[in-house]
Symmetry: C2
Subunit: 339 residues, 2 copies
């Protein structure tokens, strides 16, 4: 099978050949197994079928706002059976990085959720910042103060940026101030630039998403169409501090190494591993960076046109964002399972 061929996985014989060639599935979640609150048709049958075939399955998600147990809970609520040992989120992997790969004896200043703080604590780390009520290390709120009077925690030795709806000027200033010390580590959970809001996928690229806003048709209220991602918040801190973050999430291969180091089932063989995801710039590039085969599912953010444009490009960076195969959704795997 040629790499990066961007072929439809429609032929049953081609699909069964692929399934026989891999024993480990790495599955993205958002846009692959679910879309917001809704399960994607075929997801439960796919997981059941893979389990029946004895395939190993890991959930590899750039999401940093859920604990492992919450991911298992969300999967379960959608009828998808999984255990916490299968879940590799950027919350967990960031904790593994700060707690093990690069041991830290100081506190972590966290821009992110309770769940992210929880994963850090579970890895034996101490937290500064984080949401109110996040524990004895919680940040004293200093909203409304001029930044020149905002205090820094003298024990902080790392800044961790995640998805943080409480992000504001004071928190940005604190992160930048900590990072003026070159010994302070700088880690970002994931590089996701933005996330679509609302029903269905928002196709990336510039096009009028708020036609009523532009054409002056003010019937109905127009609301935000995107929410900024961790990559957006990280960019502000990078510019404001003159530093570059170590990015844990896809497309970095760090999460692949995390699975290898902790899964307890032995290292993955890239030649026998398959990554399934909905974003070319994270999931498919992650697969390329790990040397594994890739399937793009069109049930999320990226489009077939974008994949084909990448394939037509002569730029090596874009060539790495061409999947081996594509499917409309995970439902297309089902006919292949009854080999």
């Amino acid at each position: 099978m040629a790499a990066g061929g961007c072929r439809r996985l429609s032929s049953v014989s081609r699909g069964r050949e692929l399934l026989a060639a891999v024993d480990t599935f790495l599955l993205d979640c958002d846009g692959v197994l679910w879309d917001g609150p809704r399960v994607i048709a075929g997801a439960a049958e796919l997981l059941g079928g893979l389990r029946a075939l004895g395939k190993r399955v890991y959930f590899v998600s750039n999401n940093c706002s859920r604990s492992r147990d919450a991911v298992v809970g969300k999967l379960g609520a959608l009828g998808l059976q999984a255990g916490p040992e299968q879940v590799y989120s950027t919350a967990r992997c960031s904790a593994l990085y700060l707690g093990g790969v690069a041991p830290l004896h100081r506190k972590v200043y966290v821009l992110g959720s309770q769940a992210l703080c929880g994963e850090l604590r579970a890895a034996g780390l101490r937290v500064s910042g984080g949401p109110p009520g996040s524990g004895e290390d919680g940040e004293e709120e200093e909203e409304g103060l001029p930044v020149s009077r905002c205090t820094l925690d003298p024990e902080v030795g790392a800044v961790l940026v995640g998805y943080d709806e409480r992000f504001n000027f004071v928190r940005l200033a604190k992160a930048c101030s900590y990072l003026r010390d070159s010994r302070c580590m700088f880690v970002a959970t994931n590089p996701d630039p933005w996330h679509p809001i609302g029903g269905g996928a928002v196709v990336p690229g510039l096009k009028p998403l708020t036609p009523s806003a532009v054409d002056g048709e003010t019937e109905g209220q127009v609301t935000c169409t995107v929410r900024p991602g961790t990559g957006s918040l990280t960019a502000a801190i990078e510019v404001g501090s003159g530093r570059k973050a170590v990015v844990i999430g896809k497309p970095s291969r760090f999460m692949f190494d995390c699975i290898n180091g902790t899964a307890g089932t032995g290292p993955l063989d890239p030649a026998r591993t398959l990554m399934v995801g909905d974003r070319l710039d994270t999931d498919i590039l992650f697969g390329a960076n790990c040397g594994v085969r890739t399937v793009l599912t069109l049930s999320g953010v990226s489009t077939l046109q974008e994949a084909q444009d990448n394939m037509a490009s002569t730029l090596p960076d874009r060539q790495k964002m061409v999947p081996d195969f594509y499917v409309d959704s995970v439902n297309d795997f089902l006919p292949l399972l009854n080999g």
Copy 2:
């Protein structure tokens, strides 16, 4: 005189030769004429001397938080005489850009101060967003709401990013959502990445700025050492929207063109113009982009070492950040004025 020589302007004969060769001075303000609340010694005498010699003086500042009148007021309070026609701030020049260079009949969504909104209104523009009480176009506060429920103003046709201490997740999400429409203009007042807080200049580059935070000496409270600049906020919006901002302030030559277009004293002759500033990456690069001679004053952000490092570099981008001359402060000009 060789360009970009980074020579000390200490010899009186060399200095008088330079003064005779130029008839227009472009002066940065922060770090050149004042340092926070404190006037820099020699500033008043320099302005008086230049006036006596019949030189034209313009204040070219990346600051977007003061109206022209407020800049004149600040200059006056420090004993520096100037008129509003001499003041070119990024607040004024952004208004000139949106109001004239690229006429806009829709509202501007503003991340920035009252002063910035005021300059826009003075140029006939309508404002959305901006601080509370900024007028009938003021943004309804939606703090605490999930971004999915935050409303967009259907009349907005441009996003203008300035220095905004009210910057937060909701405002970031709104800016990114407006910019998903490719017809929405995207302008940033200036690219300044960060500003030092507190007495004296903070030397850029990575070094322990909070030694007590690192060494565990917790005596005395450690406060923020930097405040994020407009460039930091702009970076978040650029990543979150997939767009690139048009940047008004230095080092772009747009402000030079603004002076040429509006000063009413005829276009500047680059060969007879001198830029004096304290930042290599904004002021000195601005001078290079405008083809004028440059003086770095060491009373602000950039250091002589950085200028010399740029001179030693073979990278063209860094070669453009080498001043023709440097002085310890504007005080060094005084012996040259009595020609």
